[in-house]
């Protein structure tokens, strides 16, 4: 084991190498709370210089692990140094959230907490931001956003209480699977809100194709 600032980003944030973006946001916030300038818990534990070093390293870890491309490069560099096991690096191997209960946010306010944290990821993820710049959104676009966030459709179902069949229909552009256009609009709104997107924007841009 090494000094804190010499630890790899995963150990620094205390997350698994296959952690989802959502887990990374949560871990980063916890660490900032613990090591932050105003933290009561770590008050006087470190010198000013040590604290600055730790905080800078936390920021670097966060920005690297939240960017898929940078993260892949970083994982490769760890593997070259034999500090990361082969097989944990692929984005498709990374965790998605299948269930809220049992997680650290296993409380009644869990969906709200998740949404708030996802908003941060949405705002900082360039892939998502590019998709959101489109005038028209397809089901495929929404699926890409969801996957970039590391969230399973099952979790959205659990949060929104919308049946999986309708959520899949949204991503597969099967508009007629919803009981009515009004329901589709409602499901779409819940879907967008649950993953931290602006519901009004998503609904308008998604339904545009139907109207067109």
């Amino acid at each position: 084991m090494m000094r804190l600032t010499e630890e790899n980003f995963y150990r620094l944030l205390e997350v698994d190498v296959d952690a989802s973006p959502f887990e990374i946001v949560g871990a980063y916030k916890d660490m900032k709370y613990l090591y932050g300038e105003d933290s009561l818990a770590s008050y006087s534990f470190f010198s000013g210089e040590e604290r600055r070093e730790i905080l800078a390293k936390l920021d670097e870890a966060y920005s690297t692990l939240m960017d898929e491309e940078k993260r892949s490069r970083y994982d490769r560099s760890l593997m070259e140094r034999d500090t990361l096991q082969e097989g944990a690096r692929s984005p498709r191997d990374r965790k998605t959230f299948r269930c809220v209960s049992g997680s650290k946010y296993g409380t009644s306010s869990a969906p709200l907490k998740i949404r708030n944290e996802l908003k941060d990821i949405v705002a900082s993820n360039p892939v998502i931001q590019e998709i959101l710049s489109y005038d028209v959104l397809s089901g495929e676009d929404l699926k890409k956003i969801r996957e970039a966030l590391g969230i399973s459709l099952e979790l959205i179902g659990e949060i929104t209480k919308v049946r999986l069949i309708y959520l899949r229909a949204i991503e597969e552009d099967e508009f007629n699977r919803a009981p009515s256009r009004m329901f589709l609009r409602s499901f779409l709104k819940s879907y967008a809100q649950s993953i931290g997107l602006d519901a009004a924007t998503v609904v308008t841009r998604y339904l545009k194709r139907i109207h067109d």
């Binding site: 084991m1 000094r3 009561l40 818990a41 008050y43 006087s44």
Partner: protein, 320 residues
């Protein structure tokens, strides 16, 4: 053999005596023969916490050889099973005990026959305080959720950690290894125990493990006292996390005692707080902490057979 818990906290006014006194009452009320020792040699007041105004004898009688054994200084309190060695009669210069006097006292404490012995220690990081922690390898730290209190807590824990590492290095003849570690990396000094141990383990894994295991054997507990509604309820968990990660000490947070206006009133009543206000917020927290100390282990099974527990449960008093 008695389970000995030194209770300290670095800063004055964090509630060390309050915690010691009331834990003592709760342990005694649950059938455990419990001895409180007021080892706050400079500012003793544990006797007041448990409602004894004028202790007839005390620790100083043993230190200054007016009695032969420490047991002779033990006072019976109004609470069955609870005993006290008071510090009230200490001389004003008693806070500066010579090392030999301290060792004599510790040896005498170890010979006493009780289920639990709680040592109420003074504030600060003098050797008088630190040595009690290092010599019995256990302790309860009390801290308030305030910057000054947290600062002094870390200072105390850090001092205990350094003192222990120095002792281990000396006893195991590892000083040369420590010098090698420092030569390899100037940051790897005992002032930074985590980094120091990692470097030691790189040089000599076996010896590094010995030191780490010895440190890990400590049974340290943390109580956050006077927690208000606006305070982070898990500050204790975070403190323990930092201590484990950077000092390699096994510190376990065993609970918060909520801020309670009744505590102030309890001091005026001059009787133990948990007896005066057994169902107050702070008393309920203290009971939960006592449960943790008892550990619901084999020791706790004794409680089930204790007549005290049944009696108190009926009377609505302070049983857990």
């Amino acid at each position: 053999m008695a389970r000995i818990w030194p209770i300290g906290g670095g800063k004055g006014g964090t509630g060390k005596s309050f915690l010691a006194g009331n834990l003592g009452v709760l342990l005694a009320r649950n059938g455990f023969k419990t001895l409180l020792i007021d080892a706050d040699l400079g500012a003793p007041n544990l006797h007041t916490i448990i409602g004894l105004s004028y202790p007839a004898k005390g620790l100083s009688d043993f230190i200054h050889k007016r009695v032969e054994t420490l047991q002779e200084t033990v006072l019976q309190t109004p609470i069955p099973n609870l005993f006290l060695i008071s510090g009230a009669r200490n001389r004003l210069d008693a806070s500066n005990l010579a090392y030999e006097q301290k060792m004599k006292m510790l040896r005498a404490i170890l010979r006493l026959s009780y289920d639990y012995i709680l040592l109420d220690l003074g504030a600060g990081t003098s050797f008088n305080t630190i040595d009690f922690f290092t010599l019995v390898d256990s302790g309860i730290f009390v801290c308030c959720p305030e910057f000054t209190s947290v600062e002094n807590l870390y200072r105390l824990i850090h001092s205990v950690c350094l003192r222990k590492i120095r002792q281990i290095l000396k006893v195991q003849h590892f000083q040369e290894l420590a010098e090698k570690a420092e030569a390899r990396n100037q940051d790897a000094t005992i002032n930074r125990p985590g980094y120091f141990l990692d470097t030691l383990k790189e040089i000599d894994p076996e010896k590094g493990e010995i030191i780490e295991r010895t440190l890990q054997a400590f049974q340290f507990r943390l109580v956050i006292n006077q927690l208000r509604k606006q305070d982070h309820p898990e500050i204790g968990r975070l403190v323990c996390k930092l201590v484990a990660k950077h000092l390699r000490l096994n510190l376990q947070w065993i609970g918060n005692v909520g801020y309670d206006d009744l505590v102030h009133g309890g001091f005026f009543a001059r009787e133990p707080f948990v007896e005066k206000y057994p169902f107050s917020r702070a008393a309920m927290d203290l009971k939960a902490i006592t449960k943790d100390i008892l550990g619901m282990s084999h020791e706790h099974k004794r409680v089930a057979n204790s007549t005290h527990m049944n009696t108190d449960a009926v009377s609505g008093s302070v049983s857990l």
